[in-house]
């Protein structure tokens, strides 16, 4: 019995690391935020729980499939060479089966909950796995746009589930994530430049140079602030929260300008971290804007 428990514990730990829990958690939080922006007079806890489960399954599943597909380049890159698939702790077939099981069950659950919500979730998985990872990631540095669009799907899905239809606020929220994701990916492209080069992955810094990439990061840090600010205003967020948005946006712009004027790894990484905190704070603010 103890042996079975030990095996279960070790498998769970390995599978958990396959889901990139931080990234999955952040995307899940955007989905919850999207749902809560619908401002139902009473929070529908059962629906919220279903959203949590279905989105977690879909996001974690597609992440595992991505990791399965990228196992060869993960093994080459220093940053990722310790992942379970790259080290052989989990076999490729096992990972693929798990990824397919999770993503398909998440999609089916989403379709049963609300067909439109299910459709948005399915499109998100398709864009992430097929278009971004399998088709474009190894061919073009511009693949990150598709990575961004698929990253915007959870918040749009949450909004769709809450509203019952797709609206402008949903698009704005999705666009804010779309523009945030390139800052995330490009910062890693700069920090682990040699890793990507040795794995033969085309990135913005390797094709357009560091200074242009920093400029793109700076611009894509500001655009989410504008987009989520507009969405928050349309949602009818309280003035106090809008003031925090304003203040944090000014900080973001200052850091972005500073990263272009005096580029350095420190400012660049600082901008990335600030943009991430900005997004997380935005999610919290639009989620808990209870009147």
């Amino acid at each position: 019995m103890k042996q079975i428990l030990d095996i279960l514990r070790s498998k769970t730990s390995l599978y958990w690391s396959l889901t990139k829990s931080m990234q999955t958690g952040l995307l899940l939080s955007t989905g919850i935020a999207g749902f809560l922006t619908a401002r139902s007079s009473v929070i529908q806890w059962a629906t919220l729980l279903e959203l949590l489960i279905s989105l977690f399954l879909a996001i974690a599943g597609s992440t595992i499939i991505n990791m399965w597909y990228d196992r060869d380049i993960d093994a080459i890159m220093k940053r990722t060479c310790n992942r379970p698939l790259a080290t052989g702790k989990v076999s490729p077939d096992e990972a693929l089966r798990l990824g397919l099981l999770l993503s398909i069950s998440g999609t089916i659950m989403a379709l049963f909950m609300n067909p439109l919500y299910g459709l948005v979730v399915s499109i998100g998985i398709f864009l992430d796995v097929v278009v971004y990872t399998i088709w474009l990631k190894r061919r073009s540095a511009w693949s990150i746009i598709w990575g961004g669009i698929s990253g915007g799907m959870p918040i749009l899905a949450g909004r769709v589930l809450g509203m019952g239809h797709i609206d402008l606020v949903g698009y704005l929220l999705a666009i804010s994530i779309l523009f945030w994701i390139p800052t995330h990916i490009m910062t890693f492209n700069i920090l682990y430049y040699n890793d990507y080069l040795s794995a033969n992955i085309p990135t913005f810094p390797s094709i357009y140079g560091f200074s242009r990439t920093r400029a793109v990061i700076a611009i894509s840090s500001i655009l989410p602030a504008i987009s989520i600010g507009a969405a928050s205003w349309m949602i009818g967020i309280q003035w106090g929260f809008l003031r925090i948005f304003g203040v944090m946006s000014v900080g973001l712009i200052l850091l972005a300008v500073s990263s272009i004027r005096k580029p350095s790894d420190l400012v660049n990484f600082g901008l990335f971290k600030y943009a991430s905190i900005f997004m997380l704070a935005s999610m919290v603010l639009i989620s808990f804007n209870l009147k």
Partner: protein
């Protein structure tokens, strides 16, 4: 020099308290004080957040002196606007000119003028935040707890002076001491403002 864990927690609390002040603390005031206090507390929020993310290297930037001027100027302008209506225009002009002059001297070739301008602008704005709450509470226009705003102003004043020392060629205080004390002062100032602003 790395920020200690203890100071990181203080900076995080400063961010949280400053966010509270921006979002809730100034809600019941008129438009101009809301704007000036939002600028002041917002600068505290962003400063503490950036210090936590970038470390003490954030203090190396040439705009630090300008930022450290914005906090006392905006807070003192808010107080004057609320309680000394006769001085509104003159203090508003003083604030704008003071900030502009320090920014100009810092970012141009007039760097030698910066210490004089800082002493003048910080001196007046710092004393305003420190003394005005005393006068206001003595005149029973606000409850005694409002004096914490003056205390916060005092902490901000000391912090600004230390930052100026950091940028000085002949500092009186050791750099390491300044860097260790600075997060504590930011935290104490913000905490005092939170307590003081409960008077509204």
């Amino acid at each position: 020099m790395k920020i200690s864990k203890y100071n990181r927690i203080l900076l995080l609390l400063t961010t949280v308290f400053a966010s509270y002040l921006v979002a809730v603390g100034v809600d019941n005031l008129n438009a101009i004080p809301i704007i000036t206090y939002t600028i002041g507390f917002g600068t505290l929020l962003v400063t503490s957040l950036m210090l936590n993310l970038l470390g003490y290297d954030a203090l190396e930037s040439s705009i630090v002196i300008i930022i450290s001027t914005i906090i006392p100027l905006s807070l003192s302008l808010g107080l004057v606007w609320q309680y000394f209506t006769g001085l509104r225009q003159i203090y508003f002009v003083f604030s704008l000119l003071g900030l502009f002059a320090i920014a100009l001297s810092r970012l141009s070739s007039l760097v030698k003028l910066t210490p004089i301008l800082i002493s003048l602008v910080h001196g007046i704005s710092g004393l305003t935040i420190f003394i005005l709450p005393i006068i206001i509470t003595i005149n029973h226009r606000m409850p005694p707890i409002f004096y914490f705003v003056g205390l916060g102003g005092g902490f901000i004043g000391v912090g600004s002076l230390l930052l100026t020392q950091l940028k000085s060629n002949y500092p009186y205080v050791n750099r390491q001491v300044i860097l260790n004390i600075f997060p504590i002062l930011l935290f104490l100032a913000t905490l005092s403002f939170v307590i003081g602003f409960t008077a509204y």
